[in-house]
């Protein structure tokens, strides 16, 4: 089998909920050995029953959301209220390259697992601490979840239609924070490989959202304007919107940037009389009159399916793509050919389709290779094989409730 890009990297993963686990899962997809440290007393949020858990949920080992955010990982159980468990956690850190955690700032210190302690245990350790608003500053103890990150990061205010309320995105804000964490860890790993130096990374989930709307800040700092919601519109391009298609709630997105594209669109629509109207004679006028323009284009798209419009327009070099539903993504021939989803056999849930790794490496493949672990599934491997504890000691630790 080909070598995976992060083969040989081990991650001691203390994260939970969404933003932390997906960060280390990204490393796991690329071949890192990720050891999730949890406990039966305090399982990961996503192992627990909740509104969002879905109809397949059946307990901590039968939680589809947990599975989806912890693929390719291992799990050990340690009751961190026990001093012996903390010592074992340190032994896992000693044989790891990376530590990741997303508790409220200060919690790891209280557990006796702060960076200052861990760098004594493993001097070149890279430790990522991900929190709601960062580990410094007056609000460092504040807590949050994806929707509050989106709100506090300035994104919710910019998301929606001009006449609608702001929209705090849901889970995707956690995964954006996670992707940023993965990048930050990889840069630190690269530095460590060059210099032998480890370090601590303090990441703010709120800030990970804010940097993704960077130009909105410059609009304010340069020109004093506060940008707000713009729906599907663009500042320059028109047409630039979604257009209704034949079936109910089916839509196609069309964006036109150049005169050439506009001409091709007109021609494909059969050059109806209205396209010659002075109101639509140049890009500026089309932008000014885009409401009427959108209505007229919609009278053409309504006769077709989104895919039909895409095929007609892409053939002549116009950017048209359906607004896919989740279901349609699984039926799309392009995504099918690219293998965007993969079936995983889970011992408690059964067959489960999951979204695959979002990159294709030509030499070092990276993909989903195993289900999200059962609670403590790898206690034997980690405590026995990796740490070399004798069997009777492991049994004693289980009996004492340290490994639990």
């Amino acid at each position: 089998m080909a070598r995976l890009p992060l083969q040989g990297i081990r991650v001691a993963d203390f994260t939970w909920a969404w933003a932390g686990p997906y960060a280390t899962m990204l490393l796991g997809l690329m071949g890192a050995e990720v050891i999730k440290i949890e406990s039966t007393k305090r399982p990961d949020h996503s192992r627990m029953r909740s509104l969002a858990a879905g109809p397949t949920f059946g307990g901590p080992n039968q939680a589809p959301i947990f599975n989806d955010l912890n693929l390719n990982k291992m799990s050990i159980t340690l009751d961190m209220t026990r001093p012996k468990a903390v010592e074992l956690a340190k032994r896992v850190v000693r044989i790891s390259d990376v530590v990741a955690e997303n508790f409220r700032p200060g919690v790891m210190d209280k557990l006796g697992l702060g960076y200052e302690v861990l760098k004594e245990v493993k001097p070149d350790i890279i430790m990522l601490s991900s929190s709601a608003v960062g580990g410094t500053g007056p609000n460092r103890h504040y807590v949050g979840y994806a929707p509050t990150f989106a709100a506090l990061g300035g994104m919710a205010h910019l998301t929606g239609y001009p006449d609608s309320a702001p929209i705090p995105m849901m889970g995707s804000s956690d995964l954006r924070s996670a992707a940023t964490s993965a990048f930050a860890i990889l840069a630190a790993l690269y530095h460590r490989a060059q210099t032998g130096e480890g370090q601590h990374i303090d990441l703010s989930s709120t800030e990970t959202i804010a940097v993704l709307v960077g130009e909105a800040f410059l609009e304010y700092t340069m020109n004093g304007r506060i940008p707000t919601r713009e729906g599907n519109r663009d500042r320059i391009m028109a047409p630039h919107n979604v257009y209704p298609c034949q079936e109910e709630n089916s839509w196609v997105s069309i964006a036109v940037a150049t005169e050439e594209e506009w001409q091709a669109l007109c021609h494909t629509m059969g050059d109806p009389a209205w396209v010659k109207d002075e109101k639509f004679s140049d890009a500026y006028r089309r932008w000014q009159n885009q409401e009427e323009l959108d209505r007229l284009i919609g009278e053409w798209t309504i006769n077709y399916s989104p895919t039909e419009v895409m095929e007609k327009l892409q053939k002549v070099g116009v950017a048209a793509v359906p607004s896919f539903s989740g279901l349609e993504l699984f039926q799309d021939p392009h995504l099918k050919e690219r293998g965007f989803a993969k079936e995983v056999q889970h011992p408690a849930i059964g067959k489960r389709l999951v979204v695959n790794a979002p990159w294709k490496f030509s030499a070092t493949p990276a993909e989903v290779s195993r289900y999200g672990p059962l609670l403590g599934e790898h206690n034997q491997y980690v405590f026995g094989e990796l740490l070399g504890l004798p069997q009777d000691e492991i049994q004693r630790l289980v009996a004492e409730g340290v490994i639990n």
Binding site: G137, H157, T159, L175, V213, W251, P322
Partner: protein
């Protein structure tokens, strides 16, 4: 000055607008040397994009271009000319990474696809970012940010919360989906670089913007693949306690999945009688009666400002966030204390204030060394001092439209 994380790393960028430039900006800001190649004359598409300083459209005054190209060197090169191609290959020979965002067939037609370039530099890591990836029936399809966002399924997911009369699929704000693809590409690029330390081998990375975005809603989208529908679209949104609520001067967002957080909210609201009702006993009860419950919460939030609610809630560890504007963030004490905004001098724009990075490294800090490059600003430095051309050559190349 402290060392940077990516010191010594050489990156070549042949990309425009947001995704490719954001990918290499992430590397440049951590110390990599990024040489940005722009087409002569017009330059990067982002130079023609708002916001412009004082609303004067000018290729050296775009805030979008500035933000996405900090810490880079800029050169101009026309890759459609034989000389341009030759010089490009000379640069490829010396680089660790090439990031590009052209249609797959364009790079092939120019003879600059990975298969051709790896012969020049077997250690090359080439990262290609396109709307639909390098393979599959849509590989050469055209898509702007609007189209990739809708094509990923994320736009329909965003529309769940809209009232029925305006329920149309909605793109994310600004160019967020393009930033997402750039970040995703940076992750893969760093992993390939790490791998190369041990294998000595370069490789080609295929990044699809569509798949970069799908990954961000993997839980929601995965449910469609298995259940044919999602909990988020049905139960979750109608049954969520809190969510977005109006207040005196805007909105707040409440997200209270844990029992103790619900208890904190009740305490925050001063233990109102209605909260003791049997119907609101546990999470599933509350979900059943979420509409009524949220009306009660809204009555309370409406009488307060978003900042009052935010800070008072957080004092009780109740996860509430204020819906902030960019102005709120620029004025934020928290961000100020963390040095989130930095300033840099630009020859045409003067002093510009912009967001730095969302991470603080204890040893290798993010830093701003130079603003975004002017068009062709480093032609002489790269072509003469690096590749060994004469200054007179540059004059002739300019006349020939090569640079």
């Amino acid at each position: 000055m402290a060392e940077t994380a990516l010191a010594g790393l050489k990156v070549l960028e042949y990309a425009q607008f947001v995704s490719g430039p954001y990918c290499t900006k992430l590397l440049a800001d951590l110390g990599a040397e990024v040489i940005k190649i722009e087409p002569p004359g017009r330059g990067d598409e982002a130079r023609r994009r708002e916001p412009f300083l004082n609303d004067v459209p000018h290729p050296e005054r775009s805030g979008l271009f500035f933000y996405l190209n900090t810490n880079k060197l800029g050169i101009t090169l026309n890759l459609n000319t034989a000389t341009g191609k030759k010089m490009f290959k000379e640069l490829v020979k010396e680089t660790d990474v090439l990031v590009e965002d052209n249609q797959p067939r364009v790079m092939k037609e120019m003879g600059l696809d990975y298969e051709s370039l790896k012969d020049i530099n077997p250690r090359l890591i080439m990262t290609s970012i396109t709307p639909f990836g390098q393979t599959g029936p849509y590989r050469d399809y055209k898509a702007y940010h609007l189209n990739t966002y809708h094509g990923s399924g994320l736009a329909k997911i965003l529309s769940y919360v809209l009232p029925d009369e305006v329920k149309r699929p909605l793109k994310g704000p600004g160019f967020i989906g393009d930033y997402d693809a750039g970040l995703n590409a940076a992750i893969a690029t760093m992993a390939a670089l790490y791998s190369r330390l041990f294998t000595g081998m370069g490789q080609h990375i295929d990044i699809s913007k569509q798949e970069s975005l799908i990954a961000l809603e993997r839980v929601e989208i995965g449910m469609y693949g298995n259940e044919g529908d999602s909990m988020m679209s049905t139960v979750m949104l109608s049954g969520m306690v809190g969510g977005l609520q109006p207040c005196k001067d805007g909105h707040v967002v409440l997200c209270l999945p844990m029992e103790h957080q619900w208890e904190a909210l009740i305490k925050l609201m001063g233990n109102p009688d209605w909260a003791q009702d049997e119907r609101f006993k546990d999470e599933l009860d509350r979900a059943q009666h979420a509409k009524e419950l949220n009306e009660n919460i809204a009555q309370w939030t409406m009488e307060r400002t978003k900042d009052e609610i935010y800070h008072q809630a957080q004092a009780l560890s109740c996860p509430i966030g204020a819906v902030t504007t960019v102005a709120d963030l620029v004025a934020s004490e928290q961000l100020e204390a963390r040095g989130f905004f930095v300033e840099a001098d630009h020859p045409e724009m003067g002093r510009v204030k912009f967001p730095a990075a969302p991470y603080r490294y204890s040893k290798t800090p993010w830093r701003i060394e130079r603003p975004a490059p002017l068009l062709g600003e480093h032609n002489e430095e790269i072509f003469c001092h690096r590749l060994g051309y004469q200054k007179e050559d540059l004059v002739r190349m300019r006349a020939a439209g090569t640079i």
